[in-house]
């Protein structure tokens, strides 16, 4: 829908509701009436904690309380873990250092208590699962990928087979969902209809690209191949997401080393403009180093100087419907109104950025906290 058509719709809605701008302004003296009922989302998470999932067989390289810096190895992830026979349940080692499920078994040479020998290990290295007969069962494997810390922080939890949690220094910009491996890079913004496809080049290697235009799985895969570290988009369709995951699976199966790469979708699966306050924050971060984590999905950054202004009191954004993506100012709750398909919903009157007044379903609005 064109901007003019949207404006017409907004104006029509305003007329239909018989609300004059003067009346609305008069009633908008305070924000008390109903603004608190607008669904809110968090703009900035002050002390983000990122989780890094592990599987049995992955080797943890850090301990709770350890400080981490960007690029430090957190764990070695097995690409294709398998079950092997491990050390014996009884013996010199077991007596001196009792083993427990979840412990890391470093491999042969230790079970007899003797020195390491130059021969094929009798038992490979791996994570102890459970006793089976006279020996331990372990989760082991041949090919590992190092999981690196995408940002500085302090390890708050490290549980074998489950996850590592890191309390990250910096702040987080939450996203709707994310896929891939935690990563970091220099933030660069891409806008315009050409989108990601038209902006790719070797100069983008090592960067995290924020795309406020067209994006598809092919261009994201191409970006990854060209050394881009991550892509932040407004919306990513499920089909593109599946293609991306399948491509990553194929890469993993090829046994080549995988570079960390992640995709964050800020809004969801449908394409919408990036909200103004988020776009302002990303603009302020351009050129600085940021990290992408996927659990929870978040862009992690050091606060820029000067910090971008937060949205003013009463700021609202339309999340769905004909006015999707439009931003404005809260005027007042408008009670239950009739909307498309004969539905009756709680409504609100808002003043759009161009001065037009629109009545929209309350649930279609959002605000940042």
């Amino acid at each position: 829908m064109s901007a003019r058509a949207v404006t017409r719709t907004a104006a029509k809605a305003a007329r239909a509701e018989a609300l004059t701008r003067a009346e609305l302004e008069a009633s908008a003296g305070s924000l008390a009436q109903g603004y608190a009922l607008v669904p809110s989302r968090t703009l900035i998470v002050p002390d983000p904690v990122a989780w890094f999932a592990l599987r049995p067989g992955d080797r943890i390289l850090v301990a709770p309380g350890d400080p981490v810096t960007p690029g430090l190895g957190l764990a070695e992830r097995q690409r294709d873990p398998r079950v092997e026979d491990g050390p014996p349940l009884a013996g010199a080692t077991a007596a001196e250092h009792p083993l427990r499920p979840g412990d890391w078994w470093p491999g042969d040479g230790h079970e007899s208590g003797g020195p390491l020998r130059r021969r094929r290990p009798r038992t490979p290295a791996g994570e102890l699962l459970q006793p089976a007969g006279a020996r331990w069962r372990i989760a082991s494997g041949d090919h590992v990928d190092v999981l690196e810390a995408p940002a500085a922080g302090v390890v708050s939890e490290a549980t074998p087979g489950r996850a590592i949690a890191v309390a990250l220094a910096g702040r987080g910009l939450p996203a709707a969902f994310g896929v891939g491996t935690p990563t970091r890079g220099r933030l660069e913004r891409i806008s315009g209809e050409a989108g990601l496809r038209g902006a790719l080049g070797v100069g983008r290697a090592g960067s995290v690209l924020v795309v406020d235009g067209r994006v598809d799985s092919e261009s994201i895969i191409r970006a990854r191949a060209m050394g881009v570290r991550g892509v932040v988009v407004s919306g990513l369709a499920g089909k593109d997401l599946r293609d991306l995951v399948a491509s990553e699976g194929r890469q993993r199966a090829s046994l080549q080393p995988l570079a960390a790469f992640a995709v964050l979708a800020l809004e969801g699966t449908l394409r919408r403009p990036i909200p103004g306050p988020v776009a302002a924050l990303l603009a302020a971060l351009e050129g600085s180093e940021v990290a992408l984590v996927v659990d929870p999905p978040m862009l992690v950054f050091d606060p820029p100087t000067p910090e971008p202004q937060r949205p003013p009191p009463g700021w609202v954004r339309v999340r769905a419907g004909e006015l999707t993506g439009r931003e404005g100012r809260w005027l007042r709750a408008a009670g239950v109104r009739r909307f498309a398909a004969g539905t009756h919903l709680e409504a609100a009157a808002i003043a759009l950025e161009d001065g037009q007044v629109a009545v929209v379903p309350l649930a279609d609005l959002e605000r940042f906290t």
Binding site: Q33, G34, A36, R55, L129, G238, T343, L362
Partner: protein, 523 residues
């Protein structure tokens, strides 16, 4: 008094006040979830005061009412997660099915199909509240070896992850030996197998229901209210509740529940794990032309922000998703479906919140295909959960008795005969009510609607050419029917409903039926 139903997608609040010695529902509101309860109540009180200042003054609904008035609160937390570890795929499926009916969201794996690494990974996942380990009786050496391995694996998991409660199901109980106690010092529990009991699996289901954490009790309060409602109305009542994170089905008579109530996370409006089965299920009911990819995206959006776009195409999509969720609920509860048609079906839950009453009636008639005649009503102010949470049984029944007329919005009566023969006419219907007589030809395969406003009672005389099933079998049947927003719906379509295989004609047919019940659907 305030009643609050804080769901996963929407939050509802109501004011209940005493007028002439009787408690009445005075005002209600429903807004997106996440809103502070006090803010919601302040807004509701101010709106109530503006609408009826005299009554508000009488009741003392001033600015301090939010602090002063008591609250009945039902809060729906996400369903707890149960990791199901089994020796075989069959055992895993059986345990997952029963746990799913008991209100657990399950994640399962088996030694047979997945191996010990996957089982360990699953049991160690964040968010797992309990671990159920199941194995059948070992009848061969291989099965015995699997049993021993599963028991050793369980010991290993319990030792390294003492948080979740471990539950040993069936034959594993004897084999497990010493499983370490959990973090809270709780020893492993021993539960009957999925085949034990009459009907099979019932003892295990009851066992698992008792393990559900109290914090997840929002929807669990509703069956108590259903029992009281049945007693107050002296009717058999079925409650069907579809929310974002789960569905509930319960049938109650004046004597109590007629079968175990089913709490099914898989019957949520949009489950978090959106697989092709769920997407296809919604597509099968959709009147909006979307391919599978786009439907997947729309459902994912609905999951991310379930309150958004409850109008236009979004409203149609939501009702299709609600039908699909109800279908999953009905399919999982054949025992309740086999009971005679109840006198009253109460539809509840946020999934229906934005749909017009008649469209809700049609959606229920589309999916719950049970021969008989039932009145339909809608828990429009979402009061069943909060009232059910009232611990005092006598007080709860008294409150329901006073509020019964207010809390249920009548949707109408649905008559579904079974066994009609194809042809031009199956018989005649005469409806005699206060407004006079209405006579209709009964055409097999069609939906016939008779205007009968809320609050009116009428007698429907049905004369069929052949014997049909309508609770009992007969040719001449006379039924007392109640009016509602949808009037009297005589549903002469097949039982079970048969729809065209191809998407386009199916959409057209569903759209045509829906258009008759949904005023302004094409706006």
């Amino acid at each position: 008094m305030f009643a609050l139903d804080l769901g996963a997608a929407t939050a509802s609040a109501a004011i209940i006040g005493e007028i002439d010695g009787r408690r009445r529902l005075l005002a209600s509101i429903s807004v997106p979830a996440g809103v502070d309860a006090d803010d919601l109540l302040v807004h509701l009180v101010s709106r109530f005061s503006a609408a009826d200042p005299v009554l508000a003054a009488d009741l003392g609904a001033g600015s301090d009412a939010v602090e002063r008035w008591s609250r009945l609160v039902a809060r729906s937390d996400p369903p707890p997660v149960l990791a199901v570890l089994a020796s075989t795929v069959r055992e895993r499926d059986a345990l997952e099915r029963i746990a799913g009916l008991a209100g657990w969201r399950t994640r399962g794996a088996s030694l047979e199909a997945d191996g010990p690494i996957e089982l360990t990974r699953l049991a160690l996942e964040r968010g797992v509240r309990a671990i159920a380990v199941a194995a059948g009786e070992a009848t061969s050496r291989e099965e015995q070896a699997a049993l021993v391995e599963l028991a050793a694996l369980t010991r290993g998991i319990a030792e390294r992850n003492p948080g979740p409660q471990v539950l040993l199901v069936g034959a594993l109980a004897a084999e497990a030996g010493s499983i370490p106690a959990g973090a809270a010092g709780d020893d492993p529990l021993f539960a009957p197998g999925p085949e034990a009991g009459e009907p099979a699996g019932l003892p295990l289901r009851r066992f698992l229901e008792r393990l559900v954490p109290a914090s997840s009790a929002g929807r669990r309060a509703t069956p108590a209210a259903a029992v009281d409602l049945a007693a107050v109305l002296d009717r058999r009542v079925e409650v069907i509740d579809i929310g974002l994170d789960g569905g509930l089905r319960a049938v109650a008579g004046p004597e109590g529940l007629e079968g175990p109530a089913a709490f099914l996370p898989a019957a949520g409006l949009v489950p978090p794990e959106l697989d092709d089965g769920v997407v296809d299920g919604v597509l099968a009911w959709s009147t909006v032309p979307l391919d599978r990819h786009r439907m997947h995206d729309r459902l994912r959006e609905l999951r991310l922000a379930p309150w958004v776009e409850a109008h236009g195409e979004g409203a149609l999509l939501r009702l299709s998703a609600a039908r699909a969720a109800l279908e999953r609920l009905v399919r999982a509860t054949p025992d309740l479906g086999a009971l005679p048609a109840p006198d009253l079906v109460v539809v509840a839950g946020g999934a229906w919140a934005a749909a017009p009453g008649p469209a809700i009636a049609l959606a229920v008639a589309d999916v719950v295909r049970r021969p008989g005649a039932s009145q339909l009503a809608f828990d429009h102010a979402r009061l069943l959960g909060p009232i059910g949470s009232l611990g005092d049984a006598v007080g709860r029944r008294a409150l329901l008795g006073e509020l019964a007329d207010d809390l249920l919005a009548p949707l109408g009566t649905v008559i579904i005969p079974q066994g009609l023969r194809a042809g031009r006419s199956a018989g005649r219907l005469v409806v005699r009510g206060p407004a006079g007589e209405t006579e209709l030809d009964l055409v097999p395969g069609g939906l016939q609607l008779v205007d009968l406003p809320p609050g009116q009672l009428a007698t429907a005389d049905l004369r069929f050419r052949d014997q049909v099933g309508l609770g009992t079998r007969g040719r001449h049947l006379s039924i007392e029917v109640g009016g509602g927003l949808g009037g009297l719906l005589v549903d002469l379509r097949d039982v079970p409903l048969r729809l065209p295989e191809r998407a386009e004609p199916r959409r057209a047919l569903l759209g045509a039926w829906q258009a008759a019940f949904w005023a302004g659907v094409a706006e």
